[in-house]
Each structure stands twice: as C-alpha cells, then as structure tokens.
C-alpha cells in the first residue's frame, strides 16, 4: 500500500526535474529546504531523521537535489522527504513537504483493536514493516 503523506503524494512519483522545479519554487519564496528520512511510515511519526542540516542561503535547486541524491544512495529503501521551512514571523513552520523517495515494497498497515473499559473499542494503526527493528524494515540488514 502506497503511503500518502505530504504534498503531491497522490500524484505519480516526481521526476528529478519536477523535484528541482518544486525546490526552485520554495527557494523563490524564501523558504529554507532540508532533507529528512525515516523507515517508520506511521502517519503519527513526525520526527524523521535529518540528513545534514537545513540549507539556508541557497539560490538554486542543484544544491538541495545534490543532498537528495546523496541520501538516496545511502538510504535507498527509506522514505525521504524534502521540507521547506518558512522563517517569516507568524509562520515559522514548514510550508511545503513532499516525499521524494520510497521503498520498493510498502506492505501497508494493519488495523488494531483494543477493548477499553465498558466494551469501548479503541482503534489504532500499525505498519507491517514496523514489526521489524529500525534499519531492517524494508531491506534485509546488510
């Protein structure tokens, strides 16, 4: 099951040219881009790992794309996303975030049910991949 998080996630995979156009748009708005990756696809997992520091003072997409490519080489079977941070007062948050790399095989999520007091049913999501330890979720440990 293909996970859909962030912008453009219902579209077909973006090509590198399309990604750099999006980065160019973010940079033209004055947003600082950063690259993050994870192998825990749960939608509530908001703390992805940083690939290097956020990149400030960039003018061209080539610099960000270079980091994306380096991250893809190092983590080919991880989710990788680009964040664009707006530092303007009042926003001070991510304005754009989209996935640029995903594992070849995404097994999806199972619905978990929990009985609460008084026959209350609580529902939760857990990913099949998440059963394995981090680092081995989408590819055999090397």
């Amino acid at each position: 099951m293909r996970i859909t998080q962030g912008t453009f996630s219902f579209l077909p995979e973006l090509t590198d040219e399309e990604i750099s156009l999006q980065i160019d748009y973010a940079l033209s708005q004055g947003w600082a881009c950063s690259v993050e990756f994870t192998d825990d696809p749960h939608p509530r997992n908001t703390y992805w790992e940083m690939w290097g520091l956020p990149m400030f003072d960039l003018h061209d997409a080539a610099g960000v794309l270079q980091e994306v490519k380096a991250c893809r080489v190092a983590r080919p079977q991880h989710y990788i996303k680009i964040n664009a941070f707006d530092s303007v007062r009042g926003f001070e948050t991510m304005r754009l975030s989209f996935i640029v790399n995903r594992p070849d095989d995404e097994p999806g999520f199972r619905l978990t049910r929990q009985d609460g007091p008084g026959r209350v049913q609580r529902y939760g999501l857990s990913s099949y991949a998440g059963d394995r330890p981090s680092g081995e979720r989408y590819a055999p440990a090397r």
């Binding site: 003018h59 080539a62 610099g63 960000v64």
Partner: protein, 319 residues
C-alpha cells in the same frame, strides 16, 4: 548524419535575439582597457551562441567548461570583472541565476578535523546555479604546513568543478606570481580551468580615464589644470614601489578630496565668499600637487620644492 539535410541557422538573427550585443557593448563602455579580458568574453559569447545554433540542429557538443582564473597585478580589476561575470554569463544564458558568491580561504577551510568538508560543501551549495568567486585563491594551499586543511577544501572543490560543471562556474583570482606557485603545487587545478586570463597593467591614459570615471560617480570633476597635475602625479607614482594601478588611483583621489575639503574650509574660515556647486565639485590642481609624491627627491626636477612632508614620506609608503 547527413549534414546536407539539416536546415540552415541564421546566426546573425540568433545574435540579435539573444541581446548579447548589449552585454558586450556595456562591458566595453564600463571597463577601461582590459583588452584580453574583453576578447575572452567575446570568444565565450560567440561560442555559446554557436553552441545554441548547433543545439537547434541536434549537433549537441556538451556545455563548455567556463571555470576561469584571473591573474594580474594589484588593482587591475580582477574582482570588478569577476563581479560582473555572473551577470554576463547569466545574460549569455550559461548560468541559471545571476548570483555570485564571493569567498576567501576563511569561508572554505575549517578550524579542526572534520570541519572543512561540510563547510566547503555548504559554500558550494550556496553558489550552485551561479558563480563561485574565490579571491586570493593561493591562500587555500599552504605548502609549509602539510596538515593544513586547505588541501581537503581543494579536493572537494576539484571534485565539484568536474562533476557539476552545469551547475557552477568557479572563478579564481590572485596575483600572477603566487597563482603560478599555487598551480604548480596543484596540477589538477590548472587542467580543470579552461580559461586563464591575465589582467595587464593599465597605461597612463587608461589610469587617467579611470580617475575621471571614479570622480564622475562621486560627483567631482577635474579642470584642465588639475587633469594635467593628475597625469603628472600618475607618471611619478607608477614608477614608485607598491603601485597598485586603479586602487592607487582611488586612494590618490580620496586624499585629493580630503585636501579639497580642507582648502574650502580654510578659505571659508578666512572670510571667503560663499561657495557654489562648481567649487564644491572641483578638484583643483593644488589639491593634487600637494601630494607627497611630488615632494620626493624623484620629483625635485619638476621645480616643486620639497616640504616637511619629505620626512614623513620616508617613514610611510608613498601616497
């Protein structure tokens, strides 16, 4: 491929549409002298145009490398030209963005082990799509210290210059003799830089022209007398040590402005008439001739008496 079947390309029309003519005319107008530099820019422009024409016929030859090295004596306009280079290359359509990142050793080389690589990469990323200008590039390499981190920065630079030629133009600048030493110890650098441009010294007429332009931008002017005085000044000054071409001209003009202000002030204090705009903008011959350069023994034959400045001149560099 049968070339006879391909359509013709009107190079003259391409030239008109691209606006390259304006760029070159502007350079000619704004920069005094510097014939080899202008020739090289013209060559690059022609080449990029021809490449575009070839592209339209599917005769792709790959983008040319435009990494450059500017070498020349102090004050010959290396930095000025480099700053304009980003704009020129952008208008020629070679770089995507009209921006230039100007760095020196401090911005590239770190202070401890493991600090240099991220620092250099960050600078390179910032310069992507435009021009990276490394002033005084020979400081990157310190032969006397073999553990110097400069070597690491050089390696990353070389790698990026080779692999990301489409994204970045690197311009090195420095004094000719020291750049020569730098390239001898880093042969990889010399071969990766396609254009070695030497900036010649300006001659007297060009220096005077530069002086007039500097004055015009600062809303000052010479009259006939002071122009002659300044030409005399340049003739004397250029024979002295530490002459730094246009930079010396700028310094001399700055000092003349101080003397002009002092003269106007002194006149006013002695109850002179109110001064008008013409007097405020004029650098008089006396303002120029008061320079220490005229007071030195070299200038004694000019008939200007040596003053008490002579003792100070012996201690300070000539001005």
């Amino acid at each position: 491929m049968n070339c006879a079947q391909l359509p013709d390309v009107d190079l003259a029309a391409l030239y008109r549409d691209s606006g390259i003519g304006d760029v070159l005319a502007e350079l000619d107008r704004d920069l005094v002298g510097l014939a080899p530099v202008k020739t090289r820019i013209r060559e690059v422009a022609a080449h990029l145009l021809v490449e575009r024409a070839r592209d339209s016929l599917g005769l792709a030859g790959g983008a040319p490398t435009l990494h450059m090295c500017f070498s020349g004596n102090p004050g010959t306009g290396k930095t000025t030209v480099a700053l304009r280079m980003a704009e020129v290359l952008h208008r020629l359509g070679y770089v995507r963005r009209n921006h230039l990142v100007s760095v020196t050793r401090d911005d590239l080389v770190g202070q401890y082990i493991g600090h240099t690589a991220p620092k250099t990469r960050e600078v390179l990323k910032r310069a992507m799509g435009g021009v990276l200008f490394i002033d005084e590039a020979y400081y990157l390499y310190r032969p006397e210290n073999e553990r110097d981190y400069g070597q690491e920065a050089i390696e990353i630079l070389l790698q990026t210059m080779e692999n990301q030629r489409d994204d970045l133009v690197v311009i090195l600048a420095g004094y000719a003799a020291r750049m020569e030493v730098f390239f001898e110890s880093n042969p990889g650098f010399r071969s990766r830089i396609a254009h070695h441009i030497t900036f010649p010294d300006y001659d007297g007429g060009e220096l005077l022209d530069i002086a007039e332009r500097m004055l015009a931008t600062m809303h000052y002017r010479f009259d006939a007398d002071s122009r002659r005085a300044f030409a005399d000044y340049l003739a004397l000054r250029s024979r002295q040590p530490n002459f730094a071409n246009a930079r010396s001209v700028r310094n001399a003009l700055d000092r003349s402005r101080l003397r002009q202000a002092n003269r106007l002030f002194a006149t006013a204090m002695q109850g002179g008439a109110p001064i008008d705009a013409a007097a405020l903008t004029l650098i008089a011959a006396a303002d120029v001739r008061a320079s220490r350069v005229f007071a030195e023994p070299l200038a004694a034959s000019n008939g200007i008496p040596a003053s008490s400045h002579a003792t100070r001149a012996a201690l300070a560099p000539p001005g």
